[in-house]
């Protein structure tokens, strides 16, 4: 479904990704794990069109993504929940969701999609008139996911899903994601600092370090691999403690 092949990405003169390749198959949950600054978000921004790779190509169902603008990529069926959620804080929850249904086909179905999202996250329905900026962190993440789903994506990119959220909220959102993946056959690419969580949700995983892919495999293999255990599982449990 998604095929990122050999991309180099720069911020100005600064190279952030070296020869990154990854493939995601239909209706899977994939994850990209790595420490802070490893380049996870850069990969996500390159797929969603916010950044342009200098070399390499990105294909989605045979369509080349790295030459078309971000809003067209959404129309093709890739939707991203950006890091930090980036809601429209002065707009209501309902308006945030409506804006998510901007591509033409999604716009026609928006009442149905909206009903479904309210079913998945009932809190959003209760607060639909409230400004997005007034929501708690967990509710904001739910809204961000809801907004991304409003465009009827085939592939959902989630950048730092659990950042700053309580374990209860993380569990709730994880359950919803797993559910949507199963029932709607939605493919998901998850970027996570919490490696344990990411590998428990995902089918396959990629490990990124200093802008390079250094490991890949099924989630269960990665969980057992010495490399991941040493580098991340140790760090992530220490990170939870403080």
């Amino acid at each position: 479904m998604l095929d990122v092949s050999h991309i180099d990405v720069y911020y100005g003169d600064l190279q952030a990704l070296w020869d990154v390749s990854l493939t995601i198959e239909d209706s899977r949950i994939a994850t990209l794990v790595g420490s802070n600054g490893a380049g996870k978000s850069t990969v996500m921004k390159s797929i969603s069109g916010l950044l342009r790779p200098k070399t390499g190509k990105i294909f989605f169902n045979g369509v080349r993504l790295d030459k078309i603008p971000a809003h067209r990529i959404v129309e093709l069926g890739i939707s991203m929940v950006p890091e930090g959620r980036r809601l429209f804080p002065r707009m209501s929850i309902l308006e945030n969701l409506e804006v998510g249904a901007s591509p033409e086909p999604a716009r026609k179905m928006r009442q149905d999609t909206l009903a479904w999202i309210y079913e998945v996250f009932p809190i959003l329905k209760e607060r639909s008139k409230q400004r997005a900026g007034t929501l708690s962190g967990g509710e904001q993440q739910m809204l961000a996911i809801g907004r991304a789903l409003m465009s009827q994506p085939k592939l959902l990119l989630i950048d730092e899903m659990s950042l700053g959220l309580s374990p209860i909220v993380v569990r709730e959102i994880s359950r919803v994601l797993r559910d949507i993946n199963k029932t709607k056959k939605l493919t998901i690419l998850l970027v996570e600092q919490d490696v344990q969580l990411a590998l428990s949700l995902a089918d396959v995983g990629y490990v990124i370090e200093n802008g390079r892919i250094v490991g890949q495999g099924s989630a269960s293999d990665l969980r057992c691999s010495e490399q991941v255990k040493e580098a991340y599982l140790g760090i992530s449990s220490a990170g939870k403690a403080d």
Partner: protein
């Protein structure tokens, strides 16, 4: 007592015109973070178009407003394509402010000179059969042109408000103004939103020009003084608070007008600037800002 009420009502009328002048300027600034200091020149061009339609074709200045708007809308699109769209390549949106300020300052010179070539430096105004007539109620006299101007300003502001809050396009505009990156991630064609907003802003400048030319005389260089007032209004309203632009304009108009009861009318412009500085000192986010 009547003269006090009359003075305040005249303030409302003038203030609504300030609001109308500031509307398009505030839209561009709120949505794109561009300072279009040439907005005043756009207003004057709108006024001259209205003047021509009246002088050569005999079309009533209020009836010709839709024509002026269409012409100015196209000008807004051209301005965006030629000058603003290259600025979007700047790495950070904050950098748009000063760059657009410099560029549109140059636009003022170009437009004002073109206006002088076409319309000569002479002051122009539209005098209709009803220009001198006034509405008299209980000893208060208000000119019809002023009252019609007030009505048009309110209509324009309400129309813009409902466009921004009730239509899909308006929600796209607001989303793009809050976070253009997140907007394009939501499937919004941000450049198209910018382009059309620019057109709407220029069309609003056209409306303001058409209203101004019925009550004031215009010259190719008179745009800047209107624009300066518009900037005071924007500061009063708070940047990005498009809904409060008209109320802020009216507040400014009433204060200016009320001041003539105490000091000489010559102090109106300085009073606007004093308010400008006071607001920046006390409530830098604007009089109506919730932040």
């Amino acid at each position: 007592m009547n003269s006090v009420i009359q003075t305040l009502l005249i303030g409302v009328i003038i203030g609504s015109l300030y609001g109308l002048v500031a509307l398009g300027f505030g839209l561009i600034m709120g949505v794109m973070k561009f300072v279009n200091i040439a907005h005043g020149s756009f207003i004057i061009i709108g006024g001259f178009i209205s003047y021509w339609l009246f002088t050569f074709l005999g079309i009533d200045p209020y009836l010709s407003i839709p024509l002026v708007m269409i012409g100015m809308f196209v000008m807004g699109l051209v301005l965006y394509q030629l000058l603003f769209s290259p600025l979007l390549k700047l790495p950070r949106p904050e950098m748009r402010l000063d760059k657009s300020l410099l560029i549109t300052f140059g636009v003022i010179w170009i437009l004002d000179n073109i206006e002088t070539l076409i319309w000569t430096p002479n002051a122009r105004t539209i005098i209709t059969s009803y220009s001198a007539s006034t509405l008299n109620i209980a000893g208060i006299r208000l000119s019809y042109t002023g009252l019609i101007g007030l009505g048009i300003a309110v209509m324009a502001a309400v129309a813009l408000h409902f466009t921004l809050t009730r239509t899909y396009f308006g929600k796209h505009v607001r989303a793009a103004s809050e976070d253009s990156g997140a907007a394009s991630l939501s499937g919004i064609n941000v450049r198209r939103v910018y382009l059309i907003s620019c057109g709407i802003a220029a069309a609003l400048a056209g409306v303001a020009g058409a209203v101004i030319v019925t009550s004031y005389s215009i010259t190719p260089s008179s745009g800047l003084s209107w624009l300066l007032t518009a900037m005071v209004v924007i500061v009063l309203a708070g940047e990005g608070n498009i809904t409060y632009i008209l109320p802020a304009g009216i507040v400014l108009g009433v204060i200016q007008s009320a001041s003539t009861l105490v000091v000489s009318p010559a102090y109106q412009q300085p009073i606007a600037l004093i308010i400008f500085i006071l607001i920046l000192m006390i409530r830098p986010h604007g009089l109506f800002a919730s932040r």
